[in-house]
């Protein structure tokens, strides 16, 4: 069955494969990726639609479908209400607590001169809506591919959300027709977060197995199980207040510098269907004023 080997071809292809890897790391493969995406994207889109249709066929038993729709509707409503509840708490309760703390501070320090300032209005310009075409093929990294690309205004670094205000990840690579979203549970993902109730801050990272961890929690902080983890908005890379999950358990070792909390994600990353890319959002201005002598 085998044929006589042309000795140069395998070695040439191996060299070429390594060259791709090196050029990719050097960031020089963008045009090549875009060209290949023109071939692959339509096939992927077509087959994705076909598979969705086939999947629908399996749900043809009428009663089951109706029941499913009702359950879906109630689940969506429940999720929307929970998210609304969390956002309201974030907006009013936490703000109220902060204002009370500020008031206490001003009362306790009557000699200080204080200037009040409002946080810049929260709000997001959310535009391209991306349908998840497929999961990234590398089983050790966690990406999804969405059918919104640079032609829709999507750019690298933009936050991607699902189900209202749940952060899914950030855009890692973009071609004209599609974008690769690095999920929050990718092993190289890092998000500055805080706990909604206690305002304790930390970093959300992921273990290689996909477990979410909140790290860099100071040892003297008291973390409660069940607290909601939200984005801290530090650095202006992500909007503040996007939901990530809930504290499931806390670990602290005497010798360790920080506490760690295992976070239960707010969404199932394997069941993502439609996502929204936040193309712009108001960032809190950071200005350092040097007082003149």
């Amino acid at each position: 069955m085998t044929r006589r080997s042309r000795s140069w071809l395998p070695y040439l292809l191996i060299l070429l494969a390594f060259a791709f890897l090196v050029l990719s790391e050097a960031g020089l493969l963008g045009p090549f990726n875009n060209a290949l995406a023109y071939i692959v994207a339509p096939v992927e889109r077509g087959l994705s639609g076909l598979f969705q249709n086939i999947g629908e066929l399996f749900k043809t038993v009428r009663d089951v479908r109706e029941l499913q729709e009702t359950v879906d509707y109630l689940q969506e409503e429940n999720t929307a209400l929970r998210i609304e509840n969390i956002r309201l708490r974030e907006q009013y309760v936490a703000e109220n607590e902060q204002l009370r703390a500020l008031l206490n501070f001003s009362e306790e320090n009557p000699t200080y001169s204080l200037v009040g300032a409002n946080i810049v209005e929260r709000g997001c310009e959310i535009y391209p809506c991306g349908e998840v075409l497929g999961q990234g093929l590398n089983p050790y990294l966690r990406y999804v591919i969405i059918n919104a690309g640079s032609r829709d205004g999507v750019a690298v670094g933009m936050p991607v959300i699902a189900g209202g205000a749940t952060l899914v990840g950030r855009v890692a690579q973009v071609s004209r027709q599609q974008a690769y979203v690095q999920l929050v549970n990718d092993p190289t993902s890092e998000v500055a977060v805080m706990l909604q109730g206690s305002r304790i801050s930390g970093m959300l990272i992921s273990r290689p197995d996909g477990t979410l961890l909140m790290t860099q929690i100071l040892p003297d902080e008291t973390v409660e199980v069940g607290e909601i983890v939200i984005t801290a908005g530090l650095g202006g890379l992500l909007p503040k207040g996007l939901i990530l999950g809930q504290v499931e358990s806390i670990t602290y070792q005497e010798a360790a510098l920080f506490q760690e909390a295992v976070i239960r994600p707010a969404i199932d990353f394997r069941r993502l269907e439609v996502l929204l890319v936040i193309t712009d959002f108001p960032r809190q201005p950071m200005q350092i004023r040097l007082e003149e002598p």
Binding site: M1, T2, R3, S5, R6, L9, P10, L13, I14, L16, A17, F18, A19, F20, L21, V22, L23, S24, E25, L29, N33, L36, A37, I39, V40, V43, E44, L47, S48, F51, L133, G134, Q135, G136, L137, N138, P139, Y140, L141, R142, Y143, I145, A172, Q173, Y180, V181, Q182, D186, P187, T188, R207, P208, D209, R270
Partner: protein, 167 residues
């Protein structure tokens, strides 16, 4: 030229892997369709065409993966290179050879992938990867190798009859 049908087959395999097999869980894992196709073709047609399929299949996998572009191309090309070596043909009948190479080749390819990710600075958990990804994938590719053999040997025979499909 085997790539006349190789490109559509590999593209279809990669897309199916991305949109369908990612959600499938058999024996706690999932098979690696493109890897299985590449290994099978390398066993049926030998070194040159195996490596060519490995390279093209790797490109499609890279395109449908996030992260560094090229890791799949390197892994699949190298595995096809190993599987297509002449000494592999002395390991017994084709079906036994294929099943063995499907399992061992999958193990080798995943170890290459992990090795490259470590070199590129990605965190890797070997124990978890072996238990939940590599082990099941190698076992499933081993078990599914007769199916891929039956499918690809059909193309191989058609190619031989027409005389125009060889590299």
């Amino acid at each position: 030229m085997s790539l006349y049908f190789g490109i559509p087959i590999l593209l279809l395999g990669a897309v199916l892997q991305s949109i369908w097999l990612e959600d499938v869980r058999i024996l706690g894992g999932r098979p690696d369709l493109v890897m299985l196709l590449v290994i099978t073709w390398a066993i049926i047609r030998g070194l040159d065409e195996g490596v060519l399929w490995g390279f093209v299949g790797g490109l499609f996998c890279d395109l449908l993966s996030g992260g560094p572009f090229g890791v799949w191309s390197v892994a699949l090309t190298l595995v096809a290179f190993l599987v297509g070596q002449p000494w592999v043909h002395s390991l017994g009948p084709t079906s036994i050879r294929l099943a063995m190479m499907a399992g061992l080749g999958t193990l080798a390819a995943h170890h290459l992938l992990l090795g490259m990710l470590i070199l590129l600075g990605y965190p890797v958990d070997w124990g978890w990867s072996l238990q939940t990804i590599i082990g099941p994938a190698a076992l499933l590719n081993f078990l599914l190798s007769p199916l891929s053999f039956m499918a690809l040997v059909w193309f191989h025979q058609r190619g031989q009859r027409r005389g125009g499909l060889s590299l």
